[in-house]
């Protein structure tokens, strides 16, 4: 039941990276061989979150066709105290690299899609990876849409903000539906999450507004903000409610329990 999971959103700051890192860590904790990809080439962040000092090759190099994917893979298992399970492929955070990726043309993007698609062979079939988790850029742009097309399941992170709800709805119906992608919603930064009445009201609203399955509801946790990106909750605080929510989400994905 191996899968490529892309995590996307309409707006920035909805929690894509937080979800990607913690979902990947949770899946790895369950004994899966996981690789997390930073496909947010315009604002790379995983190198900072995962505190990787330096690397010789970046995902940019793989998509450029100038190196093998194995050169980009970084094994973080021992750093995160997981046995042989957690790998990461990072986007180059230098301004020069970001500028370079912004200037790519359609043909390059088409080849990049081909290279993302071939990861299914090189990493999943040949090297036994169970899950590839793609952290993407927000909104409609090449790197994100490439990731969505290559994925088996797309998780859309969204908040209750008007602008986000409106854009997300349009994106779901005008992009995701066209590609016929299996899609699930994760509502993040939810207030009053302890009130059952409020939660039921929200679930009903989600059903009416989006017509896509709701996979997780993440309350607004001050502890997450306070951690300032220094903790991977799924790993460092396994008993935190946020980690529990991720546990449930990972289980749904593993059991393929998404319509």
């Amino acid at each position: 039941m191996s899968k490529i999971i892309a995590i996307h959103s309409y707006k920035g700051g909805t929690g894509k990276t937080l979800l990607s890192v913690n979902l990947a860590a949770t899946l790895a904790k369950h004994g899966n061989k996981v690789c997390l990809f930073d496909l947010d080439f315009r604002a790379p962040s995983l190198f900072a979150i995962l505190k990787v000092e330096s690397t010789e090759y970046w995902l940019n190099d793989y998509l450029n066709g100038s190196c093998d994917i194995n050169k980009v893979l970084i094994d973080l298992s021992s750093k995160l105290q997981m046995k042989d399970k957690f790998f990461v492929c990072l986007a180059n955070p230098t301004t020069e690299a970001i500028r370079d990726i912004c200037a790519k043309d359609r043909k390059w993007e088409m080849r990049a899609l081909g290279r993302l698609l071939s990861l299914r062979n090189t990493l999943m079939k040949e090297q036994g990876f169970d899950y590839l988790v793609f952290d993407t850029s927000p909104g409609l742009q090449y790197s994100s849409i490439n990731a969505i097309v290559a994925a088996d399941l797309v998780l859309v992170a969204t908040t209750g903000d008007r602008s986000d709800v409106n854009g997300t709805r349009r994106m779901l119906h005008e992009i995701y539906e066209l590609f016929e992608k299996k899609t699930g919603l994760v509502i993040n930064k939810v207030l009053d999450a302890s009130s059952k009445a409020k939660m039921d009201e929200m679930r009903d609203k989600v059903k009416v507004v989006y017509h896509f399955p709701l996979l997780a509801v993440v309350p607004c946790f001050c502890e997450i903000l306070r951690a300032e990106g220094n903790l991977i909750f799924a790993q460092d605080k396994p008993d935190h409610p946020f980690s529990k929510i991720l546990e449930d989400l990972a289980k749904k994905i593993e059991s393929d329990n998404i319509k």
Partner: protein
């Protein structure tokens, strides 16, 4: 024995006729499809790129076919039809239309026709 020998020749002829009919059919399908969806469609754009934004702007019926080729890299109309759950003849027509539009290349090997995304566009940098 003699009868068997005699029956072989007409069989071969029939085979040949069938083969030719299939080829004709394929050409007809393309013509019908082109008429259905308006023949204003640009005649052969050399090396048009099949990127995701192009996929998004395609009519639904063609996008499904094009996405399948994207995933396979190279496939016959039969293989595409199995994925999309549409008739082989329909996929054959759509694939041929994508060839005419310059998004795909077609190659015949014996009786099979393979459709693929142009390697040169795909590989060269």
């Amino acid at each position: 024995m003699k009868e068997e020998m005699l029956s072989k020749k007409p069989l071969q002829i029939l085979e040949k006729i069938k083969e030719n009919l299939e080829k004709l059919n394929e050409k007809m399908e393309v013509m019908i499809e082109l008429q259905k969806h308006g023949k204003k469609e640009t005649p052969t754009v050399p090396d048009a790129s099949l990127d995701v934004m192009t996929l998004l702007s395609m009519p639904d019926h063609l996008r499904k076919t094009a996405m399948t080729i994207c995933r396979f890299g190279r496939a016959t109309a039969d293989e595409v039809a199995q994925q999309t759950n549409r008739a082989r003849a329909v996929e054959s027509a759509y694939l041929n239309q994508l060839v005419i539009m310059g998004y795909l290349k077609k190659e015949r090997k014996g009786r099979k026709a393979y459709f693929y995304i142009d390697k040169e566009v795909h590989e060269s940098r």
